[in-house]
Chain length 264, copies 4
């Protein structure tokens, strides 16, 4: 009797059990967006004493992880956009990562991001230990055209803008002595732009990262290095960079035609 098992071991029918598995696949030739969000980061940011309304260290840690994701999935992910505790990753139309199985794509990206977040935490919060394991959840959405994908990215950047306006006002009110409830009440239904002027916030002087979020992409190099000996090219990807720029208008995309190139 090997292993100490019951005799029923031969009756176990794996094929039958397998038949319950299903793999929902993401439609071919559509842009895949994987968006991850911090789980309960409201609490996480309080316990780890993030600066409000924006903590530069926390934002830079997020972007650092996003950069690692682009390097890890360099064949498949062409762009990422992040704000607050969320990050969206754009997989190219033609990707066949995990045969486009939704669960594997989402979980592998979220897991790698999380792992990097914990490892690099001390690089950004050198004087503060992680008090419990941070985690993120994720989802995937497909877009059938580049135009709609750009609408998605614009939507996220508009959201960044509006949330930042709101949060800047909110914390200014709290700093001025109001309770959180009073601050909330005072902003309910308010015209944010008017409120910013009223509170004498010099909005355009705020760091651009707070106002426009972070865009992560490959800075492609033109001069591909060719190994003199074996003729192989190296460094053809260039390096991953993060910029804080307007991705709603066309200018950025015209300057970087390779990012959303449909034929890549």
């Amino acid at each position: 009797e090997l292993g100490g098992f019951t005799e029923e071991i031969d009756n176990v029918k794996s094929e039958y059990v397998h038949s319950f598995e299903f793999d929902s696949k993401l439609m071919p030739y559509t842009w895949i967006v994987v968006r991850l969000d911090g789980c309960h980061f409201h609490r996480f940011s309080e316990i780890h004493e993030f600066v409000k309304p924006n903590d530069e260290r926390a934002l830079n840690l997020m972007s650092s992880c996003a950069m690692a994701v682009l390097e890890e999935f360099r064949q498949d992910i062409v762009f990422a956009y992040g704000v607050s505790d969320e990050y969206s990753f754009i997989l190219k139309r033609t990707t066949d990562l995990y045969q486009r199985r939704a669960s594997k794509i989402i979980s592998a990206i979220v897991s790698f991001f999380t792992s990097t977040y914990v490892i690099r935490w001390k690089d950004y919060f050198s004087n503060r230990m992680l008090k419990y394991p941070p985690s993120f959840d994720g989802r995937a959405v497909c877009y059938p055209s580049t135009e709609i994908l750009r609408d998605y990215l614009s939507w996220r950047q508009v959201d960044c803008h509006i949330n930042n306006q709101y949060n800047t006002c909110f914390w200014k009110l709290v700093a001025s002595g109001k309770s959180k409830r009073e601050a909330q009440q005072s902003l309910k239904g308010a015209q944010l732009q008017a409120k910013i002027e009223e509170l004498a916030i010099d909005y355009n002087k705020l760091p651009i990262m707070f106002r426009q979020g972070s865009s992560v992409f490959w800075d492609r190099v033109d001069n591909v290095l060719i190994h003199p000996e074996n003729g192989k090219s190296s460094e053809c990807y260039g390096k991953v960079i993060v910029e804080h720029i307007d991705i709603i208008g066309s200018a950025f995309w015209l300057e970087h035609p390779g990012i959303l190139d449909e034929k890549q």
Copy 2:
């Protein structure tokens, strides 16, 4: 011009963009299994010099993370079974975690597991640094009856058994001087039980964790403590434990009727 945006900001139509989102939900009143697996752990285990065929530290780290998952998702996860670099989590039939949205359930569990894995790494590999971020992928499967769920768990434990027999033989052959290729060749299509005897492996003396995998569950306490003052019960969950036992036969389940209780 606030924030430095193009004027197009008002044209961004979030509702339209939202319409592409879909949330595949897992069928109500079915058992949900979330199984995670290490990504490229063959390489990870080599680079971090795991003992072959089984590294106790690595297995205990995995189980430690699984225990943390049960504590974190105590309302929803009732059992976990792990072997090698995989772990299966059983959510109770009646769970409404994230409204049973597959992506969120999978990603949140995998992310929390990953986060814990990195944080606790040094507790199990005190003398070895993580050389790069480990990651896991996950998937969900639903089972419509408790009987089939038990078939699933039996299948995993049989798999543990067969893989362990194979790996034990393989590494014994390698230890005896054969190359990996020769060892593989020698085991191709072989009757593993006969091979074990031939190689003079005292299989039943191997640690039971290697032979039967790890089962993680709540050790429910019978004597619920009642606060004398407010009448509230505390500690009603008991504590999470890990055992290495036969989960194919009925004995374990009869002794722990609460775990797969359909009405919970």
Copy 3:
């Protein structure tokens, strides 16, 4: 140049085109319910002058089609319940019809039902021509346990009961000279049982088909005929019958244990 085609014929890549096909499969070992409904039957019933609130010919035609469906899909469909212009078909848990592909199952059943409806129309409406093609739409739902499947059937029969009470009152009011709008107004939020008494409707004298809908199933024969020569059994299915009975209580199901037998 064969066929008169452009030369591009060789460039057509069927494999790529195929990759967009997806077959959502219904979870194994769950009860499948296919429910069909008449499309725009409000208009259809007016144009074909159905008697209100219930047209016996129309109901019998529906049941006749359902019986034909049970005969056609005798390996897979074990029960059907119908009311008004809808019919629900129950496929047995273990069915592998079309490998449980949702689209094929739904469309094939709905199409066969429709075809039979048109063909048999004249048997029930001998003096009235079909003025345009009637059509039905369909959907599938899976239930993981027999208990929940019975809840589904109970829900449909309760719906039959409530709708019939309402419609009986409504048309009585119209018959008494009220306009449809007035009748509707008078029933808005009304206690139907009280209304029935108020309108002096002898509800329990109404044909039981109107009050309880139609249940269609195989009347299994006990004495299977054995061919004396080849030993093969014939007529083992018995014949399909329609009954108007209570399917909410247990009595019917206890008398016909074979219908929802999980092991069949």
Copy 4:
């Protein structure tokens, strides 16, 4: 006790039962193709003595039904292509028919087609009664770009061409005295074009409907009639026509830019 029900009627919980329903929706802004196929039409065509390899009456009946479908779903279906016992219907990118619910779209189209098929049967087979109810099954596929949609249509027309070449050879061989098995054997792996010449078939003289299938679409009228009194336009749809033309090359699509107009 109204209706003769058990008292359990109040315990029926419809909300819970509802929660098992799921509506898989077809991705917005993709082209939807609904393709239907005859169920067991090999047998159906034999029993109803269809002329081989092509029965003009049967093909014209199919196209007649497709035309009726385009008229019925005039807001949503812009093109159809048929061959043998199959027909593909193209719904425009922007359609919101049944909120893009797959089951309803497929079943409603297949049901209407079936209904029309039975009703119009006698117009094409005046001397032959329907011996049993014909039925069709259906499926839906989405295509994210017009280019891929055209690849789909090209694939169907290539299939038509190849099948027709094969069937023409097959039935010529049978007509020449071979058994069906011998004919099949003789064509196995054969170069069809060479075989056609060998059998002295004047392929290009065959009716173009057999060689190129049937395309059904709206012949849009340019001069929209304006009612002199109320200013409303009528007949803006023109009429549905069927043509037998090359849809692989660009010529047809350039001549009819409105059919696959993305903005419609």
